[in-house]
């Protein structure tokens, strides 16, 4: 428990630092939101109106220090301000259009990719030099190296366009009312198959390879030989002895990946017209939408930190030695 709290303290400090960076970094970009907005209006806007717009964005209000203080105050009260790219919609509302969809799509895809990939890695390493070991890792690495955009487009054309098995776009049909109804959930699931499948295909190779390599080094250790010598069942040796220890580095990567779930998956969102955070992030950066950027980064940072804290806890459970070293 003390360990968990100590880690928590560390993460709170890290959160504070990242909140400050979050404020500073967007402002170091060249240009400013008003010019970006002016560009969007193709110069159809009078300079006076531009000036007024700048003022309403709060860009002219005082020094950087004063802006930082009001930013801190707003973050603490949960008020993320109004988006500039989607002016005058509040940032929370803009993020709300994509948050849940990203969470479900990228989250589920990551879980599937991690679980399946790790399991395959364990099996492949266990049956080293078997047919699976010689075929699977190179094949999956090949698929992973395939440009994701092409992979997604190809899947879309084949299974969506040509065969018509899955919808071509969106997270649900436009004539289905969202809600916790069987019709909607089924519809949404059908829409998620292609994007989720492409993400899994593109990322699974990494998990398989990572786990396989960890497994192989663990399998060479003395305590595995000892376990085998004791006459334990192969399944027990594989899972409880080898896999549990080999899992540690993968768990770290998983924690990182989990945190980045919320940054969305831009390309799958584009190809499958799926709502999500990736698109918003790009949009925010391109329009120099400071409030939206800050809101998105804040959510991403906090979730990365939260995920890492959880991973620390899992780590401590998997490998009790970490607790004493702190």
């Amino acid at each position: 428990m003390r360990y968990a709290l100590r880690r928590l303290g560390f993460y709170l400090l890290a959160a504070l630092a990242s909140i400050s960076l979050n404020f500073l970094i967007p402002r170091l970009m060249p240009g400013d939101p008003a010019s970006a907005m002016f560009a969007r209006f193709q110069g159809k806007m009078a300079p006076e109106a531009m000036q007024a717009l700048r003022a309403s964005f709060g860009l002219d209000q005082g020094s950087l220090g004063a802006q930082f203080l009001s930013y801190l105050k707003h973050v603490l009260t949960g008020d993320l301000g109004r988006s500039i790219a989607y002016y005058p919609a509040p940032v929370t509302e803009v993020i709300g259009t994509g948050l849940v969809w990203t969470l479900v799509l990228t989250g589920v895809a990551l879980l599937m990719s991690f679980a399946l990939g790790t399991l395959l890695g364990v099996v492949v390493a266990w049956r080293r030099s078997g047919w699976m070991d010689s075929v699977l890792p190179p094949l999956l690495a090949f698929l992973g190296a395939f440009p994701y955009f092409w992979l997604a487009m190809l899947t879309l054309y084949l299974f969506g366009f040509k065969l018509g098995w899955f919808p071509l776009r969106h997270a649900y049909s436009y004539d289905v009312e969202p809600g916790f109804t069987a019709v909607f959930l089924l519809d949404a699931a059908r829409h998620a198959v292609l994007p989720a499948a492409t993400i899994v295909i593109a990322t699974i190779g990494g998990w398989v390879l990572g786990m396989r390599n960890n497994m192989i080094s663990v399998l060479g250790t003395d305590y595995i030989t000892m376990a085998r010598a004791k006459g334990l069942t192969p399944a027990r040796v594989m899972l409880r002895y080898a896999a549990r220890n080999a899992l540690l580095p993968s768990v770290t990567s998983f924690g990182m990946a989990l945190g980045f779930v919320l940054s969305g998956s831009l390309l799958s969102e584009i190809v499958f017209s799926y709502p999500g955070m990736g698109y918003l992030l790009v949009q925010a950066v391109r329009s120099q939408d400071y409030p939206l950027m800050q809101g998105l980064f804040l959510i991403i940072t906090l979730s990365v930190l939260a995920a890492n804290w959880l991973v620390d806890l899992v780590y401590a459970w998997l490998d009790p030695r970490t607790q004493s070293d702190g």
């Binding site: 560009a39 110069g43 009078a46 109106a49 919609a89 054309y157 084949l158 969106h170």
Partner: protein, 566 residues
């Protein structure tokens, strides 16, 4: 592909992808796999429109915010102006007003409002609404994007159906901003505490489509205004807007029949779209957009010299440029710089000049004459001894302009000018242009109902800002006092004949001076399918602009569309 208009739409695409490659893939995919179009047809009377691109809709029906920030129907279906300028027929169409009359001194204009118009909640539309709207523009400068209060004195109601607009000086070109201002209802907006942050979730307007029926992140639908003032119109029951994050997705939906009317760029449209169903699938890409220019910063040497600009212009193979960069959807510009939006203003005498003809030998001769001798590697040097080596600023990801820049760079090499393409993100690019922090750049030009704004933008001293200061137009910093005189005279007359005479003078100045290098007029993208809806404008029946990217002008189309009779 980002050839749509406004250019802004291009910003919605990730720069990380090569759009050319994606277009290629798109065409290739259709050819290889065959695009089937057998999907269940939506209910009759529904028009599915693809115009704004985003991955998720965010609610905003505030018509006073800068154009493009609110959802499309806000200015094209919900709120209406007093008059609409039809860019195809080049005529003013009376809308919420029956017409406008100038006072003899051209300082007062009276709008006679249309009687019997009601808001969608049933309340009558009166002159108080117009006065109130202009009052909001005065109170909130953000709303006054055209700066009407820079030339207006006051707007007052003479009686319930007459509005009198008094100008602070004689400024005839200001009429278009006043007449086309979307009008909001006083009885609703007077109670809004902060109109600037008002997203107007349940709009009350005078337009044909006002009822927001569905609003979700991927789709929203508008139903018709129960009180619309045009009897029997609109004939359609519903406008539907699906969210598409990029052109590829929108094009797929268009080809597949999910979208009836689209304003996005479609590559190889004859093959990918029309041939699928020649009876119903059509497009019309008139060159009514703004002219795209290669701007040379005249405040930087050696671009202050007209001969250098002209030589560079002669070195550009525009025919090849429009084929390579624009898929042949447009043609080379002429020496007036005017796009077809100003076709009736174009003076043939000024349009045809040597410096717009592709002639490398003549270009080289011109530079030789100017003392720009060839130096190391064949690169010319200015008389001061500096090599002619420049960057062309282009927005990264706007693949049509990037390709144009590549063609230009190759062309300029042939006359000993070493030009390199520099790609910037849009906000950095516009910042460089506005501050005059560039040598060469590809960019758009001014639009309007007359060429006034276009020429003011390209060659009036009134719009020249010092280097380093943000300039909303005239990025190349070119001013010509004789042009100013002509434009100032133009501001003071409403006589069409006189306006044309003055504009011919301006055109001649442009053709003589070559203040900037015109490349090609932009097409306005518009494609439609008559499978379910009929009545679209086309090259055969050009009653208005087909493109839905026409702002207020799209109202002219929306009221004409009707469900197809079977």
């Amino acid at each position: 592909m980002s050839l749509d208009h406004p250019r802004a739409r291009a910003a919605s695409l990730p720069a990380t992808l090569s759009r050319g490659a994606r277009a290629g893939l798109f065409v290739f995919g259709c050819a290889l796999l065959g695009c089937n179009a057998d999907r269940p047809a939506p209910a009759p009377g529904v028009l599915s429109i693809s115009v704004q691109q985003t991955s998720a809709w965010v609610k905003n029906f505030n018509p006073l915010l800068p154009e493009g920030s609110a959802r499309w129907p806000t200015r094209s279906g919900i709120y209406e102006p007093m008059m609409i300028f039809n860019g195809v027929t080049a005529r003013w169409v009376p809308w919420l007003s029956l017409g406008a009359t100038w006072s003899p001194g051209l300082q007062i204009v009276r709008f006679e409002l249309r009687p019997g118009v009601t808001w969608s909640d049933g309340a009558p539309f009166t002159s108080a609404d117009v006065v109130f709207t202009f009052d909001l523009l005065k109170r909130y400068r953000v709303f006054d994007g055209n700066d009407v209060w820079g030339f207006l004195d006051d707007v007052r109601a003479v009686d319930e159906h007459t509005v009198q607009v008094r100008f602070s000086r004689v400024f005839v070109p200001g009429f278009e901003s006043v007449a086309q201002q979307p009008i909001v209802p006083k009885h609703i907006w007077a109670d809004i505490a902060d109109p600037m942050t008002f997203i107007n979730p349940t709009p009350v307007g005078t337009g044909p489509f006002t009822e927001v029926r569905v609003f979700r992140n991927q789709v929203y639908e508008l139903g018709r205004n129960p009180h619309y003032w045009q009897p029997g119109k609109p004939a359609l029951s519903t406008l539907r807007f699906l969210a598409f994050p990029s052109n590829d997705q929108a094009n797929l939906a268009l080809i597949e029949g999910e979208v009836d009317w689209a304003g996005n760029f479609v590559p190889a449209i004859d093959r990918t779209f029309v041939e699928r169903n020649p009876a119903d699938n059509h497009y019309w890409f008139p060159l009514l957009g703004s002219t795209v220019f290669l701007y040379a910063n005249t405040a930087h040497a050696p671009f202050g010299a007209a001969d250098v600009r002209k030589a560079m212009s002669m070195a550009i193979d525009r025919q090849k440029l429009v084929e390579v960069a624009m898929y042949g959807y447009t043609r080379p510009a002429d020496a007036t710089g005017l796009s077809d939006a100003f076709a009736s203003w174009r003076d043939p005498e000024s349009a045809d000049r040597d410096w717009m003809r592709y002639d490398v030998a003549a270009a080289n001769a011109l530079l030789d004459k100017g003392g720009y001798a060839r130096g190391e590697g064949g690169i010319r040097k200015s008389p001061a001894g500096l090599p002619l080596r420049f960057d062309i600023h282009v927005v990264s990801g706007w693949s049509d302009w990037v390709r144009a820049g590549q063609v230009i760079a190759r062309n300029l090499a042939e006359i000993g000018v070493d030009a390199r393409l520099r790609l910037y993100d849009m906000s950095a690019w516009i910042d460089h242009l506005q501050r005059g922090n560039f040598d060469l750049a590809i960019a758009w030009s001014g639009e309007g109902s007359t060429p006034y704004r276009f020429y003011r933008w390209t060659m009036s001293t009134d719009t020249v800002a010092p280097l380093g200061t943000l300039a909303p137009s005239n990025w190349h910093r070119f001013g010509d006092p004789p042009t100013d005189e002509l434009l100032h005279a133009f501001e003071r007359t409403d006589d069409l004949e006189e306006q044309h005479r003055l504009m011919r003078g301006v055109e001649k100045r442009f053709a003589d001076l070559a203040p900037a290098i015109p490349l090609f007029p932009s097409p306005m993208w518009g494609a439609y399918s008559t499978r379910r809806v009929d009545g679209f404008p086309s090259a055969k029946t050009p009653y208005a602009k087909l493109t839905p990217n026409a702002g207020t002008e799209s109202l002219l189309v929306l009221v004409e569309l009707r469900p197809k009779e079977k």
